[in-house]
Point group: C2
Chain length 239, copies 2
């Protein structure tokens, strides 16, 4: 920015909107809140709120995340800025610029209507439609981004509890991408990437009672995947 011109300055409201995802029962879920006031009263929307004068958008997003999910410690959760939505007419009341974030949760703690949200609910991604404002668009963008980032980052571990099995990790990929993956190959690929996961020595977990107990892993220190873990081409992408 440049040129400090008081007359060029126009007041904007700045908000954050959050697309909070989790994997539950093999399906991607997103956290929605029911609006209490007009406009869009009674409709579902992404959680969010105003950025306060003394905080950054990131701080505001993390604060809202705690308020909406009821989690006491959200410091370790994955929170990622998506993009900013600034169409002049996106809010009928006034000029509101919204910084959108995507958050990934290991498992779904039951949401409780927080602060200013009438009700909060985990909703299967496919059922989240006709949201308030431009939240349909934001949600779709968030999902695209998450899916793409699974390919070349270690993001998937953010969906898992501190200790997890490779089967659980694979389920994250399969759920977000909506495709089945070959287990042996997935396993090799993950283990061949240094820093993606590290074994928890000796530990094992029974997977719902049935089957052989699986070894446990923790998230590693790496953040990017080289080479990437490409999703099977759905026979219609370029290349």
């Amino acid at each position: 920015m440049d040129g400090y011109d008081k007359y060029a300055f126009e007041p904007f409201a700045v908000t954050v909107d959050l697309a909070v995802f989790t994997v539950r029962e093999g399906a991607l879920h997103v956290l929605l809140v029911e609006r209490g006031q007009e406009p869009y009263a009674g409709q579902w929307a992404l959680p969010g709120g105003f950025v306060r004068p003394d905080e950054s958008a990131e701080s505001a997003a993390r604060r809202e995340l705690g308020e909406e999910t009821g989690l006491t410690d959200v410091s370790g959760l994955h929170l990622e800025q998506l993009r900013t939505y600034s169409e002049p007419d996106r809010d009928p009341r006034m000029r509101v610029v919204s910084v959108a974030f995507a958050a990934l949760l290991p498992d779904a703690p039951e949401a409780h209507g927080g602060s200013d949200a009438a009700r909060a609910r985990w909703t299967p991604y496919g059922d989240a439609r006709a949201l308030a404002f431009d939240h349909d668009r934001i949600l779709a963008d968030a999902r695209d981004r998450i899916g793409a980032k699974l390919e070349y980052t270690c993001l998937a571990t953010a969906f898992c509890p501190p200790e997890f099995t490779l089967g659980e990790l694979q389920q994250v990929y399969e759920t977000v991408w909506g495709t089945a993956l070959d287990r042996p190959n997935f396993r090799r690929k993950v283990l061949a990437t240094p820093g993606f996961v590290e074994a928890v020595p000796g530990a094992a977990r029974l997977t719902g009672g049935r089957g052989k107990p699986a070894a446990l892993y923790r998230a590693g220190t790496a953040t990017t995947l080289h080479p990437p873990l490409l999703r099977p081409t759905p026979e219609g992408r370029h290349a």
Copy 2:
């Protein structure tokens, strides 16, 4: 966002900042402007300006791009939202939230100090330091993003004129990544990706007089690269 509370509403100024890149003489250049006013008077900064009440951040960015570069038609240029910078103290005067964009130009038309910019200048990326505000950070983020997107999108053609040779395209990759690529393999890879480039029938261009004339290509219709064109691992990345 949720909860229409007049008291929660705080006025923010919203600006756009642009990291405008071009490849010139085998080096990555970025467009900088010299600040005329305090704060940071006399220092270099990224071009940008206030978002007007009736336009989106994208519109503002494109408007500024035209004003700063002096280009009459910026409609076809690549403009991409990076992220939003919202630290409370990033501007000493007041609360300013800035939406950052990266723009890619085919070749460097000489910049002329536009509207509110005292002077504008193309600067080699490495020489762009000690910029005003948090622009060092924004610029570094922009460069990282561009480099990463070359791997899995067709972005590189945005650095090229409407018709270009494969050698020119390869130079874009080499310049942004700072690594040499094997020409035969690069060529095969590009041509094997449907929609990346399409041949201009019959046309050829002499490359600075010397050497065999090269075939000309246009940007194709694809936007993503599958599989990606990974940069040589600099022996220190994960995996």
